[in-house]
């Protein structure tokens, strides 16, 4: 290659200078990180961050446009430096993908070097800034003068520029709060992940009802000596319903009857009951070595002990199914008298003004009987900008796919 005979810093600059520059930037980043003993970078909030970002964009674009023939500027916006910065980001992400990222812990060497909070560390910030500058310069040359054939390039690169910069600069304005609410009560305080101090919300949430639906319960064999649950021969999660069969070594079980919601009566036998209090009961026939017996087993609830069938050293038990869905019926109300009634469910968040409300969790010990619902409320004013970037990348992607196929046809014919 020609590169080998070139002297260092002889123009035009190429990969060697890019590698050196990127390595220097990474070293500087880690030095900064050490000097600030691993504290995370505090970004300014709206409107300051928006102003800084706009100034940065204007600066990069105007440098690119005014000095498009300067060889250093050309190198700064070129693919070799771009590739090195992509590798630097990949390297930092690799650290973030291997070392557990934990917020809060400090003092250790890992936290001083920033490797346990790599995505808010100085080396990452510095690399991203350089990356945005590099990407912005390359964009400036394709944006002006505009040509339709550059559209794919513009959509990809501008989309990524917008998504990345707005996601990072906007992270200071992201608010995520957890709001615990008990049934029949309202709450207008939320907690962040980082601190125990409640924060006042501009609205309150009233919880009418929390409800949880489970998958059917499962049949399992429990060994109290080893504290292990044994699965049946077919390696199937056995959903209990009338007619379910299961077998373990020397043991066959058939479910003769199944009542999803029942309570024990005076005679000791289960009777169908209301779904809010009843628990699943199953009548099973157990056949082991030529003996047969029948028994009622149940999953139990906070009020009722579970019913198991003893089989020598083992127990045949029924465990509640995993949650299938859970939802909170709420009324959201702000100080101005606006209110909304809504059902919050996982994957079905609800918008209220600038906020989005999510069903997050519940009292897991109480399970189906939980009277507590955890709602997460999120405000992210930069979301539309990030999504604009996403949609531009997707549009660029469609063009890329299309052109890729077209060129392939050209190539093979």
């Amino acid at each position: 290659m020609v590169v080998a005979r070139r002297r260092w810093f002889q123009t035009p600059w190429d990969f060697r200078e890019s590698i050196l520059f990127t390595a220097a930037a990474l070293c500087a980043g880690f030095l900064f990180e050490f000097a600030s003993s691993g504290s995370s970078i505090a970004l300014p909030r709206l409107p300051v961050n928006a102003i800084i970002l706009s100034l940065f964009a204007v600066l990069v674009l105007s440098i690119g446009y005014s000095f498009r023939n300067n060889h250093i500027v050309k190198w700064f916006g070129g693919i070799p430096l771009g590739l090195c910065l992509i590798f630097a980001i990949a390297l930092l992400s690799l650290i973030g993908g291997i070392v557990p990222q934990e917020a809060g812990s400090s003092g250790s060497l890992a936290s001083q070097a920033g490797v346990n909070h790599i995505f808010s560390s100085w080396p990452f910030a510095l690399t991203v800034i350089l990356f945005l500058a590099n990407l912005g310069l390359s964009l400036s040359w394709k944006l002006i003068p505009f040509k339709v054939q550059n559209l794919q390039f513009i959509l990809f690169h501008a989309g990524f520029w917008i998504a990345l910069s707005c996601a990072i600069f906007g992270s200071a304005d992201l608010q995520r709060l957890v709001v615990p609410i008990e049934e029949g009560k309202a709450n207008n305080f939320g907690y962040t992940m980082e601190s125990d101090t409640p924060q006042h919300l501009p609205f309150s949430v009233f919880l009418h009802e929390f409800s949880l639906e489970e998958y059917p319960p499962q049949l399992l064999l429990y060994d109290p000596h080893t504290d292990k649950l044994l699965m049946d021969k077919s390696q199937t999660i056995l959903e209990v319903r009338k007619g379910t069969t299961a077998s373990w070594k020397g043991l066959d079980v058939v479910v003769l009857d199944y009542i999803p919601f029942a309570l024990p009566g005076k005679d000791g036998l289960p009777h169908p009951a209301d779904r809010s209090t009843g628990i699943p009961y199953a009548k099973v026939r157990i056949s082991a070595d030529s003996t047969q017996r029948e028994a009622w087993i149940s999953t139990g609830s906070p009020m009722l002990k579970p019913g198991a069938a003893a089989l020598g050293n083992l127990y045949l038990i029924m465990v509640p199914g995993t949650p299938k869905s859970f939802r909170s019926a709420v009324t959201i109300q702000d100080g101005k008298g606006d209110d909304v009634m809504a059902n919050l469910e996982v994957n079905k968040p609800v918008n209220f003004k600038d906020w989005k409300l999510y069903q997050m969790g519940y009292d897991e010990k109480a399970g189906r009987w939980s009277k507590l619902s955890l709602i997460e409320v999120i405000r992210d004013p930069w979301l539309p900008a990030v999504y604009l970037g996403f949609f531009m990348i997707m549009a660029g992607n469609i063009l890329f796919f299309w052109n890729g196929i077209k060129r392939t046809e050209g190539a093979s014919s």
Binding site: L174, T236, P323, N347, L383, Y387, I393
Partner: protein, 264 residues
């Protein structure tokens, strides 16, 4: 799961026989069609099994690693057939069928726990598009790496191979397109399900890394770095994909991941 064993053995038999008949078909062109039908039959068996499995599970079989391997096994040979049809390159399909059989053998050795449940976060209209787009992306990139590896071996024996290099390139390009869609669909879904589109969860981080690896490739290609060197790059990129795909669960960082696949 009696039927999985049957379906897997039948599919592997189809691919093996198809491969053997294809080798004979090089001399006897009349055998070409039967060879293709046999090999294709292997994937048809897997697709039928997936459809059947989907119907008895009452949910798409995309939840566990084992379930995703069923899809790879069905889809990877199809890429091999397409490449043969499109670029008249006939050796890729052998690798693809071998890889598919390998996935089925893993599943035969580690039988799945048959579980119908789907946790609430996965019950989303995004679930299928996100996972399927990723599956297709990985399948294309797997084929691209296999092609690149073959190209490397031809290079080492100093044989010229221009078509092979353009095939690995186009497969990588298409794979990158799917990877980008998968990444963005994932982000849009995460916003609906977990409240934020990006949280640097280990799985997300590794997905981003794999995407960066191919982004780097595309730019190096654009900068006219020698094609032959890039074959090494493409062959090795698959290591990153594999970690992202199976390996993440075993990394120290996975202890606080929200979406490693269920290990059952």
């Amino acid at each position: 799961m009696i039927t999985f064993t049957t379906a897997a053995i039948l599919a592997i038999a189809c691919w093996s026989l198809g491969a053997i008949v294809s080798i004979f078909a090089r001399r006897t062109p009349a055998l070409k069609l039967p060879a293709f039908l046999l090999a294709f039959g292997g994937s048809v068996v897997m697709i039928a099994f997936i459809a059947f499995y989907w119907s008895i599970l009452d949910r798409p079989p995309l939840r566990t690693l084992g379930e995703t391997r069923l899809w790879y096994a069905a889809l990877i040979p199809l890429v091999g057939f397409l490449v043969e049809y499109r670029w008249k390159i006939d050796w890729l399909k052998y690798y693809c069928m071998a890889l598919a059989s390998f996935f089925l053998v893993i599943n035969l050795l580690h039988p799945e726990v048959f579980d119908k449940t789907l946790m609430p976060a996965l019950q989303s209209p995004w679930f299928i598009p996100h996972v399927v787009v990723y599956l297709v992306g990985y399948v294309l990139l797997a084929a691209s790496s296999v092609t690149a590896l073959h190209n490397v071996s031809l290079q080492l024996r100093s044989k010229a191979n221009v078509t092979g290099e353009s095939v690995s390139h186009y497969l990588a390009l298409l794979g990158f397109v799917f990877l980008s869609f998968g990444l963005i669909f994932g982000a849009l879904w995460a916003k609906e399900a977990w409240g934020h589109y990006w949280t640097w969860d280990p799985k997300e981080t590794w997905a981003f890394l794999s995407w960066l690896a191919y982004l780097g490739y595309l730019h190096a290609y654009r900068y006219n770095i020698e094609r032959s060197k890039l074959q090494w790059y493409l062959a090795l990129s698959f290591v990153v994909l594999l970690v992202c795909w199976f390996g993440v669960n075993y990394l120290p960082s996975a202890q606080n991941s929200v979406h490693t696949y269920t290990q059952s």
